[in-house]
């Protein structure tokens, strides 16, 4: 069983975002980078599946080794190798970095290069986060499924695999309190939602072992077929700031009464 994980490096969510001089990108020099939190959930799910199937042992044949392999794929700059190395320390077996420096990307072009790399690997299943914390496109993994011509379910909060029938039973939220169960035929792409699992940390032996695990690098152009971008970011602007509003004093009953009055007469929202 060959398991793919789409992994993206994003600024840590505690980072202060500063818009760069070009007004179209952000300043990256002082940012802390991390694995996209939803992708950590995807990686954890991949590792659990591999463990359930029985991972490769030292005496296993090359076929058996491949039977439980977790491969992380990232489209990003050279810097992203640090996050990939962290994923290898957590337990992934190898990495594929698709170098995208100097390229203008949108969801379709990103999906296209990721699908190009995935196509060469013929994964039995591909896990991804349901969206990325930075650009929040939430569609790249769905695009990868579409381009590979395989089914997809997202966002998924519970999965059961049936290895005999090569199917995955996925639960996902549809709308308020309603959950859908989707039966996917493998190979498929699964977009992971919070609550699916609790991601593990890298162990010290894992960190040492990760140094010798391979990360292959490709130029995005080699993977070919990337369409021209169809969504252009014209500018970034700081979000509208909320100012400090009015504090309401008095006893709880007085404050509640005054708040209700203001919500009706001033804010006009009730």
């Amino acid at each position: 069983m060959k398991i793919g994980v789409l992994l993206k490096e994003v600024p840590d969510s505690e980072s202060i975002i500063r818009i760069a001089a070009d007004a179209r990108s952000i300043e990256t020099d002082r940012l802390q980078w991390t694995i996209n939190p939803y992708d950590e959930i995807a990686l954890e799910e991949a590792l659990r599946l591999k463990e359930k199937l029985g991972g490769p042992s030292a005496t296993a044949s090359p076929e058996a080794c491949r039977a439980g392999e977790v491969v992380v794929i990232t489209a990003g700059p050279a810097r992203a190798v640090d996050s990939m190395r962290k994923a290898l320390a957590i337990g992934a077996d190898r990495g594929i970095l698709i170098r995208t420096e100097g390229l203008e990307l949108d969801p379709a072009t990103t999906a296209s290069v990721l699908a190009g790399a995935a196509r060469r690997e013929s994964f039995d299943v591909i896990f991804a986060g349901k969206t990325a914390f930075d650009d929040g496109w939430g569609q790249v993994h769905i695009g990868v499924a579409e381009m590979l011509g395989i089914p997809c379910a997202s966002p998924v909060e519970r999965i059961e695999f049936d290895m005999r029938s090569k199917e995955a039973l996925c639960a996902r939220p549809a709308s308020a309190g309603i959950k859908e169960t989707v039966r996917l035929r493998l190979p498929a792409v699964i977009g992971c939602e919070k609550g699916l699992n609790q991601p593990r940390y890298a162990s010290l032996p894992g960190i040492i072992k990760a140094r010798s695990k391979p990360i292959a690098e490709f130029e995005a152009s080699v993977l070919g077929g990337a369409p021209e971008i169809s969504i252009l970011t014209e500018r970034l602007s700081p979000p509208p700031e909320r100012r400090m509003g009015r504090m309401i004093g008095g006893t709880p009953r007085e404050a509640a009464r005054e708040l209700a009055r203001l919500l009706r007469e001033e804010a006009k929202v009730i």
Binding site: A111, G136, E180, V182, G245, V269
Partner: protein
């Protein structure tokens, strides 16, 4: 200008966010333009009428039955067929799980991708411009689709909803095929009566300060009085006080109600990023130093277990629209 809107309905009623989106499309398209709606299943008379009232002159209906009707995979083909037939300048959907899934599928099938989760939409002589929050709300991106049609999903409650048209659209039927390799086997209501956060016009949310799952009663009671959905901070979800379905924030739902009442929520960056779209924010917290007060329109320093029931009582006394 021609705009196609993916419309959602439930139980024979058009979703409010879909009516809102069709109305916005109609105002963008202008008198010379044309707006069509794409609907899953054959719309009944009430839904057709509501689609027409909102501004759709034509409805493309995908003839699917049963639960598979909700599947983006089953509907991507008929949606692409509707796009080929109508030839719109833009295809719009709501930023709901259904809308996001179907729009992602269809836009990627046409090699484009979509401007996801937009909060503003305008058109100029070069086409459409969408605004969308990025970096967890740390910046706003203005994006321009460079190919036609432009695809975008829009957060519910981004535009005023004002039905203004007569309600008799022309209906064209499209066939939908069973999705290949992905089949919806069942739907289950995990929490009866839950209102959807993303669609809610009012939200009452609690944080770690709520102290326990059993204490959510005071929050639910105020929500009931307001007709509001119940939200929670990550801290309250991580403590196991309430399910993740209720989480507002960077790792939960992005919401855009007209009223957001935050009870016992400190106001972390991640939480604020999810509720930034709220029009009026009320903070109730016993800690006068809580960051949330700096972002709230109205603040009360006090114990939520005193203030929230008093507020519920006051609102019931006043009556609430």
């Amino acid at each position: 200008m021609k705009i196609l809107v993916v419309a959602e309905s439930e139980g024979g009623a058009l979703k409010r966010h879909s009516a809102e989106l069709i109305g916005k499309a109609a105002s963008l398209a202008g008198a010379e333009g044309e707006v069509a709606a794409f609907a899953a299943g054959v719309p009944d008379e009430a839904v057709s009428h509501a689609l027409g009232m909102a501004g759709a002159g034509r409805v493309y209906a995908a003839d699917v039955a049963g639960v598979t009707a909700r599947s983006g995979q089953a509907l991507a083909s008929p949606l692409c067929e509707a796009i080929a037939g109508f030839d719109p300048d833009a295809v719009l959907g709501s930023a709901t799980p259904f809308g996001a899934d179907l729009m992602a599928r269809a836009s990627m099938r046409l090699g484009r991708g979509m401007s996801a989760d937009c909060t503003s939409m305008t058109a100029d002589d070069r086409g459409f411009l969408f605004e969308r929050p990025v970096y967890g709300g740390g910046a706003t991106a203005t994006v321009r689709p460079r190919s036609r049609p432009a695809f975008a999903t829009v957060r519910p409650n981004s535009f005023p909803n004002r039905p203004a048209f007569d309600g008799s659209p022309e209906i064209s039927m499209l066939d939908a095929a069973e999705a290949d390799g992905a089949r919806i086997e069942g739907v289950e209501q995990s929490e009866p009566g839950m209102l959807d956060l993303a669609e809610a016009d009012r939200i009452v949310a609690a944080g770690r300060g709520i102290g326990g799952a059993g204490n959510f009663g005071v929050i639910r009671d105020l929500a009931g009085a307001l007709g509001a959905a119940v939200g929670a901070s990550r801290a309250a979800v991580d403590e196991g006080f309430i399910s993740h379905d209720h989480q507002v924030g960077q790792s939960g739902r992005a919401v855009s109600p007209s009223l957001y009442i935050a009870c016992g929520i400190s106001g972390s960056i991640q939480h604020m990023s999810g509720m930034r779209g709220s029009k009026v924010v009320v903070a109730i917290n016993s800690d006068p130093e809580a960051q949330i007060f700096a972002r709230a329109d109205y603040g009360i320093v006090g114990d939520m277990f005193d203030v929230v029931p008093a507020l519920a009582e006051e609102i019931r006394r006043m009556g609430c629209d």
